[in-house]
Assembly symmetry: C2
């Protein structure tokens, strides 16, 4: 291979050299669509580089669409690339590829049955007549019917399809809901971390507070009270409902990650405990299906429902009609329930494995927080770096982490097990441990 | 057939009797999934009813998902229906089926190559890795790249992919744009008809006016100035740009229906005339592809782009990732350009046919307005009904129309040719003419 590598550069630049080398070959049609890329092993041997460096280059090529991986076979050059002029400027979310990702809330590669979902999408795209017209502003009627049955069965929520509004994600729903709350001007969130929610309320002029129940609107995710999956106990749920009713506050119950509550029995929804009074219930599918499927829904209580119906025709539907049709049939056929059971089992096992790995590798030098739900744990590490520095240092080693908070000499990171394969937990944790040991706080990592 | 029809009821109730009869057969499993429905001709003969009545019933059954039409074969019972509990309450947009629809801006049945689009969707859903992660907040990078090239070529708009923000429809884009316009509090629209736009601005506290160029934001659709397709002449475009620049107003150029301008040469976009300064350019695909595909984009000028980039991570992408991937490749392969040419030709021919039909049937009793763009004409009719009454009376005869305005003794209706097959123009116009002749204004329809 005629590749002049500048090995004096830092490691993270090496993989970009490989990346550019192959990208140019592809763009110059020297590597043709369909041709197989050299195996990681072979490429690493020839270039005298680590397999990880090559893999990082390949991952970046794949992320940019130049090559595609085929299971048990390797990487192949796409035909997309051949026609493409190179992307000059990186998008705002463009990041160099990383080998291990503890920060992603994406789905587990093994968990989703693409073949099955593709069949439902294909069937939806056969409904030519239906796709020739605009979607119903409120969401497809048959889909809302199925949703109302689904949440009645699983969350004991009694509502009619007419109480349900569908949208492309929670923000799209809040864009409809906020203008209906003219009599409110304050909103409380449990933590500052859900910026997507607080941003929308701020955009509409709301005063945003945290953990302040004397607010006109109280936004809660009872199955996701903290990043590490604490859930709200029944007693506090009942107390919250009582307090909100007395003070005429509206509760928005975002049932995020409710499906991943690992208790014996699922905790009842606020909506069911309150008999639907004064509660807007929000549900999503991004974590149950694919993150790329943008379908959420809300259940509106009176008088918000009547207020909405008066304006309904002023808002176009944002969620894909075809994906609504596909998901409707997918739920009817029982696949969503099956997928939920499967994911809950999978994440429960993975989270335990991650916990064990973390305990073994970090031992008594760290503090671990873990709740009854979710796919993450919080790990507080003694280190003489700031959170930002720790993120950068681990990133250089191919590991992405998310930091939650920091005090001098301590950083708390959130490790999500959802998208990382379990066999990667030990090497990923070792990278984090190794970086921390390089920057010790007096007394730690002795 | 054991169907007791109550023929004393009005016609529009007869088809609902047929509808309920078949729906019950399907729900009671007396008509099994996959079985063929009797042909329209046969059913009409046996029940001694008009074919139109039967067809209306079948259309309603199909709209509710109980049966499905197969090309050149007839209607079949779906398996959806067998499992479904009947939909009790009609959704807000649920309407009885109608035979002829002049009010729909849906696509022409013949114009869209479903087979082709399905192939692109299928290919997008094969990109498993990509669908396992959330979409980029700003829109997929390769898609924005393709969009920037497309609008440079077709509309002479020079921008980088980083200036483009993708969203599920114009409203989703305005939800991101409006909060960036803190220094503005007034917006002007050309007419009150685009409620989807004015609603969003009102929701953010803007004072909404019409045709008032002394506003902080001026929203215009230069290729769709009126419902009947008047376009903004170059001289007024230049004047608008100059005035807006002098008064520090922001122009939002919604290039809606620009593709259907039937002049010799396309009129330059405001964005290109102004060199991009002080203009937000908005484009959509609903009318070029399928109305059910919710993908729009906007091009942000400085300093709005910088302001957006600071908040970008706070907004999740609303448009379907799979549909972005599919559309990206569809454009790259030249199909969008081909589809646009085809539709422009088709709508140009259909609109002329509709004009001729209207002239022949309504003759000198009416006034016709028609512009240089779009898929609609305006028809002012002498009639002693209100607009609402005229809509109801024609609806009873199976025709849906949209009214624009009314004065005593006159109603102006908008007839869209886009989704109606050309062979339906004469019967549809005759229904409208017949209703009007039943309620004459003195001197007209003599």
């Amino acid at each position: 291979m005629s590749l002049n590598l500048d090995k004096t550069e830092k490691n993270e630049h090496l993989y970009m050299q490989i990346y550019h080398y192959y990208r140019n070959l592809i763009l110059e049609h020297k590597l043709l669509p369909g041709s197989k890329m050299p195996s990681l092993r072979k490429c690493a041997r020839e270039l005298k580089l680590s397999r990880t460096t090559i893999e990082n280059a390949y991952l970046q090529l794949a992320a940019d669409g130049y090559i595609i991986s085929k299971a048990q076979s390797g990487y192949y050059v796409t035909n997309i690339a051949a026609r493409q002029t190179p992307i000059q400027s990186p998008g705002i979310t463009r990041q160099p590829a990383c080998r291990y990702d503890f920060a992603s809330s994406g789905a587990d590669r093994e968990s989703f049955r693409f073949d099955l979902w593709r069949r439902y999408i294909k069937s939806a795209f056969r409904q030519d007549e239906r796709l020739l017209s605009y979607g119903e502003p409120q969401g497809e009627a048959d889909f809302r019917q199925v949703l109302s049955e689904y949440i009645r069965e699983r969350r004991n929520i009694l509502c009619s399809p007419d109480d349900i509004v569908v949208g492309a994600g929670v923000q799209s729903l809040l864009h409809i809901l906020c203008p209906l709350l003219k009599d409110k001007n304050t909103v409380s969130f449990p933590t500052p971390s859900f910026v997507q929610g607080s941003t929308v309320f701020r955009d509409y002029g709301f005063d945003v507070r945290y953990r302040n129940k004397d607010s006109g609107v109280i936004y809660v995710s009872p199955a996701h009270m903290t990043k590490w999956g604490d859930i709200m106990p029944i007693s506090r749920r009942l107390e919250l409902i009582r307090y909100a009713a007395e003070h005429n506050s509206l509760i928005i119950e975002d049932d995020f990650e409710n499906e991943f509550v690992y208790l014996q029995k699922p905790t009842p929804s606020l909506h069911s405990l309150a008999g639907g009074q004064g509660i807007v219930y929000i549900g999503s599918f991004s974590r149950l299906l694919l993150p790329s499927i943008r379908i959420s829904f809300m259940v509106l209580p009176e008088p918000l429902k009547s207020a909405y119906l008066q304006k309904a025709a002023c808002y176009n539907q944002t969620a894909s009609k075809a994906e609504q049709i596909a998901l409707c049939q997918f739920i009817r056929d029982g696949h969503l329930a099956a997928q939920t059971r499967k994911l809950k089992r999978l994440y429960s096992v993975k989270l335990k494995k991650l916990l064990t790995t973390v305990e073994v590798i970090f031992g008594r030098d760290s503090r671990i927080q873990i709740g009854d739900a979710g796919t993450s744990l919080a790990l507080t590490l003694p280190v003489s770096l700031t959170g930002k520095e720790l993120k950068e240092k681990t990133r250089e080693q191919g590991l992405r982490i998310q930091t939650l908070k920091e005090t001098p000499g301590e950083v708390t990171v959130i490790l999500s097990c959802s998208s990382m394969p379990a066999e990667d937990f030990p090497p990923a944790c070792r990278i984090l441990h190794e970086v921390c040991s390089r920057y010790p706080v007096q007394g730690a990592y002795s």
